[in-house]
Every structure is written in structure tokens, then in C-alpha cells.
């Protein structure tokens, strides 16, 4: 078994993973669900400790788990804000003003993409199509969809977050 530096998942995540085991014929198939659970526990990102703990739990090498983590856009290897904003900038949203919305958000937060505001409240990225083009331009605020944005409303939404 590869060295995972003694990192372990907390019991409640191990229980949640165990509850999913009967769903799949292989242990490896639990990797994406396990990473989702771990990321939630580790405040929205996956520090090395989390990746190694998942590897240990599923009898996988850390290298294998890193390979998967780096492939997917929703797993993060750097700290994120308490609130994560993903602004769709693909064509359907761009046609309705997504670039201006993104510029307004960036201006308001005064940080670059993938950086966290000094108070730890927000981080943002531009994102590919989120599948809500009827609400264009739109973004995800944590797990929720917010649509029909304007440069003004996007600032308002940020202000209203705790």
C-alpha cells in the first residue's frame, strides 16, 4: 500500500462512503463521490491531507487520486472563499452580457480569479456553460443558480452574502 502519510478521513465521511459501497462493483468507483464528500468537509477544497486520506480509504495510490483531482474543474487544490462564485461566460451568456458581469464582479471584489478576498468571504472564476442559458447571464453562488444578472445585480448579490 502506498504511503499516505497517516492521513485519515473523519468518521462521518467514512460512514457516508461505506453507505455508498453497495452501489458499485469496484472500490475505485467511489472515488468521485468520496472526493465530493471530502471537499465539502475541507471547506470547499482538497488539501494534500484530504487527497491522501481518500487514497488510503479506497486503497488507491495518492498519485492516482491526484490524477483524478486535476482532471475535473469542480475539485480545487487551493483554498477557496467561504462563497464560491462561478460566472458562466460561454456563448449564450456572453451574448447577453456575461463579460460585463464578470468585469463588474472582479472590480467589486478587487481580487483576481481563483484568489480569495482578504476577509475570506469570496472567490470567483469564469466558467464554461452551466446549463441555464434561459437565465443568461448567470452564475453559480455555491450550489445555487442565480440568473438574469446585470453588472449592478451581481454586486448586490455579493453584498447580501454573509
Amino acid at each position: 500500500m502506498a504511503d499516505t502519510n497517516g492521513a485519515r478521513l473523519p468518521d462521518e465521511i467514512r460512514d457516508a462512503i461505506d453507505a455508498l459501497r453497495p452501489r458499485y462493483p469496484t472500490e475505485e468507483a467511489l472515488l468521485l463521490p468520496a472526493l465530493h464528500l471530502a471537499q465539502r468537509h475541507w471547506d470547499g477544497w482538497l488539501p494534500d491531507e484530504a487527497i491522501e486520506a481518500v487514497a488510503h480509504e479506497l486503497n488507491l495510490t495518492p498519485a492516482k487520486v491526484y490524477g483524478v483531482v486535476t482532471f475535473y474543474d469542480l475539485y480545487h487544490q487551493k483554498p477557496v472563499g467561504r462563497h464560491r462564485l462561478r460566472v458562466c461566460t460561454n456563448l449564450s451568456c456572453a451574448l447577453r452580457g456575461a463579460e460585463e458581469v464578470l468585469a463588474s464582479l472582479k472590480n467589486h471584489l478587487q481580487v483576481d480569479e481563483n484568489e480569495v478576498t482578504p476577509d475570506g468571504k469570496c472567490s470567483f472564476v469564469h466558467f464554461e456553460c452551466l446549463g441555464a442559458c434561459e437565465q443568461a447571464p448567470m452564475m453559480m453562488v455555491d450550489d445555487d443558480y442565480r440568473g438574469h444578472l446585470t453588472p449592478e445585480s451581481v454586486r448586490q448579490i455579493v453584498e447580501e452574502l454573509d
Partner: protein, 432 residues
């Protein structure tokens, strides 16, 4: 002509999320019907209906099911493709939100037809709320005896699980999706073997799109003949969801008999945005070649769009008005394909990158005569040279830009970097 929606008939009736509420409004009759038939008869009915896949490729659903080997001891699987990441597409989201039992019913009928005892619904990771809606609906279906050890008490065993992706367009490609389901990087597999023979966990597997499966209960309940009389002709049958976005007054997911024209669809959306004129449209998501306004009367179905040099794809209709800069639009799509190329095949990894760089240079005002030819050369080197069709998808908008809208490109190449106000954004004054 008043068309009664089929797939969207329960919109605005949230009570259908439970089995009881769905039954109340006539649901689960298709599954009841299927369970009185032999599995092969179910496959025949779906074949006979002419139902073609709604995920992009338009492959006949019944034919796909018939490829699942019958004489095998291996488990069989259905993986429902709810990855929905083709830019402009959001119909499967609506179907899952508005009528999750309809999808469960369609999946159950498919599983019965091919003797699969396990179904995974692979849903894109961003659809958190929709995954919860499905989980809840599935829990209720177990409780009501629609899922579990004996589906509707008829002795057929079926388990159904929601599996969340984690943000990767390529996981919508069916073999990339299987890799991802198995806990790997979502890199597509070499075919053959096809998933019908070697699919999920090495076993025979059907992969169908959400909308494809949502059609199935209606075919069983009302019959293939009823289904066939909806649509353009016998090769293009049934109801179809069109997801309209861009420059129309009321973007949304609209249901029509397959083969509605763009003009009809725009009218259904309350007309062009701010009364502007149509310049171009994409009929089937980012991968579908862009068409000029002359095609607004073409029936948007598989065969008529192929004839027009484009494709129905996911039926994501992106409407662009006369103020839209098409070069910038295609540049945005080129960025998307470059970001989403999984990197496995060199022509795609390199080609999508070069396409983005060349277009970036052009919209920065540094284009040169001959860059249009360069784009076509990139397309020639990418198309048909890779494991999966992502490279062909990336070629769609690029080639159509140069071939269908040569003047738009040339205007940029001759512009000496002088950007007109209309070009600073995608369309003039969008947020005014």
C-alpha cells in the same frame, strides 16, 4: 395548430415528483404496459417508433438496445447520460426538475428491455439541486415498489443510483463517462469494443441521454404508430425539446414536434430580442456548424440539418442578432473546446489550442490575410483523426465561420486593429 406537449406536460405540477402525484396525472402506464410484454417486444416497439438519440448523435435507440448480448452471465447496465455540458443545452435539467419520475420510468423500461438490473444516472456535478431532486424521487420510487427487488411486483429487480460528475465536458462523451463512473480521469476509450459489449465495469452497457429515455414511456403507453406521426418523416419522429438562448425575447426550453423551423421557434419565444434582425444561429449546441439566416425555414431535424451542413446535436438553438460579432462568438467557443479537450489525442490537444490562439490574435486586431485559410488547415488536421468526436465538434463552429461567413472574418483581417464599438462586446449595448 395546437400541439399538446408530451415531455413537458407536467411543467408547473410539482406534485409529479412523487410516484403518487405522477400516477395521479397518468404516469407509470408505460412501465405497466412494458412489464406485460416480453423484453424483446419492448425493444421492437422502440425500434418501430423511430426514436433517435437526443444526446447528439441521433442513433436509433431501439437498435442500440438490441446490441446488448442476450446470452451472457455478466451483469448489464444502463447509464443515463445527464452530463448535459454542450454549451447552450439545458433541456435535461428541465426534464429532471419538472418530471423526475418520467425519467425513472424511461430508465426502468430500458432496463427491463435489455435485462439490466442496475441503472446509474450520471449527472454533471454542477447540477446539485437536480441531483437532490432525483435522489428524492428515486427514494420515493423504491418506497412505492417501482424500484427494488420486484419492480411493480412483477419480479424484475432494478436498482437505480445517481452518480455526480465533477465538471468536465468530455464526460458527456459516452466512454469518457464510463471512465469517470469507474473513478478515473474521463478520457474516452478506443472503440470497438462498443459499450454494448464492453461498457461499465467491463460489462454490456446501454448509454442513453435523459431526453431519449423520457420519450420511452410514451411510446409504450400510446404506441409506436402514435409516436411516428409526430415529426417530419419516418426518420425524424417524436416530440423534441429545443433550448433557445441568445437574442430572443423569451429564451427557454420549448417542445415541438421534431422538425420545427427557426422562424417558428423564434416566434414562440416572443420574437427577436428588441426587434432586431437575425444574422446567424447555431441549431444544435456549440459543436453544430453555425448557419446564416437563410436557413430560418429549414426544419430542425436530424436529416434536414445534415443536408444544410449542420446538425441537430443537442438542439440547443443559439440565436444571434445583426449586431453580433461572429468571430468573437466563435473565439469564445474555441476557448471552450481548448479548455475541454482531454489532451489524450495530439491533433485535438494541439488543434484546439491553435484554433484559440489564431482567433485570439484576430480579435486583438492582429489578423493577417491568409488566417482564414489557416483556420481551415487546422480543421483539416483535427477532423476525423482522434479517438472521440470532440475534435470534430471543435471543427464545427470554426469551419462554418470561415465557410458560411467569409466576410465577417475578412472584415477582421482587414481591420488593422481598429475595433468598432460593436466589436468590443458580443452584441452592442447588451446590458443597456
Amino acid at each position: 395548430m395546437a400541439y399538446e406537449p408530451v415531455l413537458l406536460r407536467h411543467v408547473g405540477h410539482p406534485e409529479v415528483r412523487t410516484v403518487a402525484g405522477y400516477r395521479e396525472r397518468g404516469g407509470y402506464r408505460g412501465l405497466e404496459q412494458a412489464l406485460t410484454m416480453e423484453p424483446d417486444e419492448v425493444i421492437e416497439a422502440v425500434k418501430d417508433s423511430g426514436l433517435r438519440g437526443r444526446g447528439g448523435a441521433g442513433f436509433p435507440a431501439g437498435l442500440k438496445w438490441s446490441f446488448i448480448p442476450k446470452e451472457t452471465d455478466q451483469p448489464k447496465y444502463l447509464v443515463c447520460n445527464a452530463d448535459e455540458s454542450e454549451p447552450g443545452t439545458y433541456k435535461d435539467r428541465i426534464l429532471m426538475e419538472e418530471d423526475p419520475q418520467q425519467l425513472i420510468e424511461g430508465c426502468a423500461i430500458c432496463c427491463y428491455a435489455v435485462s439490466a438490473n442496475t441503472c446509474y444516472i450520471y449527472i454533471r456535478g454542477e447540477y446539485v439541486e437536480q441531483a437532490e431532486i432525483l435522489e428524492e424521487a428515486i427514494r420515493d420510487a423504491y418506497q412505492a415498489g417501482v424500484l427494488g427487488d420486484s419492480v411493480m411486483g412483477k419480479g424484475f429487480k432494478l436498482d437505480m443510483y445517481v452518480h455526480r460528475g465533477a465538471g468536465a465536458y468530455i464526460c458527456g462523451e459516452e466512454t469518457g463517462m464510463l471512465e469517470s463512473l469507474e473513478g478515473k480521469r474521463g478520457q474516452p476509450r478506443i472503440k470497438p469494443p462498443f459499450p454494448a459489449v464492453v461498457g461499465a465495469f467491463g460489462c454490456p452497457t446501454v448509454i442513453n441521454n435523459v431526453e431519449t429515455l423520457c420519450n420511452v414511456p410514451h411510446i409504450l403507453e400510446r404506441g409506436a404508430d402514435w409516436f411516428k406521426q409526430i415529426g417530419t418523416d419516418e426518420r425524424n419522429t417524436g416530440p423534441k425539446l429545443y433550448c433557445v438562448s441568445g437574442h430572443v425575447e423569451r429564451p427557454g426550453t420549448y417542445e415541438y414536434p421534431i422538425g420545427a423551423t427557426l422562424n417558428q421557434i423564434i416566434e414562440g419565444c416572443g420574437g427577436m430580442w428588441r426587434g432586431r434582425q437575425l444574422k446567424a444561429f447555431i441549431p444544435g449546441g456549440a459543436s453544430a456548424p453555425m448557419l446564416p439566416a437563410e436557413f430560418a425555414d429549414t426544419p430542425l431535424d436530424f436529416d434536414n440539418l445534415a443536408k444544410a451542413g449542420s446538425m441537430l446535436g443537442s438542439a440547443a438553438v443559439v440565436v444571434m442578432d445583426d449586431q453580433t460579432d461572429l468571430v468573437r462568438s466563435v473565439y469564445r467557443l474555441a476557448k471552450f473546446f481548448n479548455h475541454e479537450s482531454c489532451g489524450q489525442c495530439t491533433p485535438c490537444r494541439e488543434g484546439t489550442n491553435w484554433a484559440e490562439l489564431v482567433l485570439k490574435k484576430i480579435v486583438a486586431g492582429n489578423g493577417k490575410p491568409g488566417d482564414d485559410e489557416l483556420i481551415l488547415r487546422i480543421c483539416r488536421n483535427m477532423g476525423g483523426t482522434t479517438l472521440c468526436p470532440l475534435a470534430d465538434a471543435a471543427v464545427g463552429p470554426l469551419r462554418s465561420l470561415v465557410q458560411n461567413f467569409p466576410d465577417e472574418v475578412r472584415a477582421w483581417l482587414d481591420s488593422d486593429g481598429a475595433l468598432t464599438p460593436a466589436r468590443q462586446y458580443f452584441s452592442e449595448g447588451v446590458t443597456v
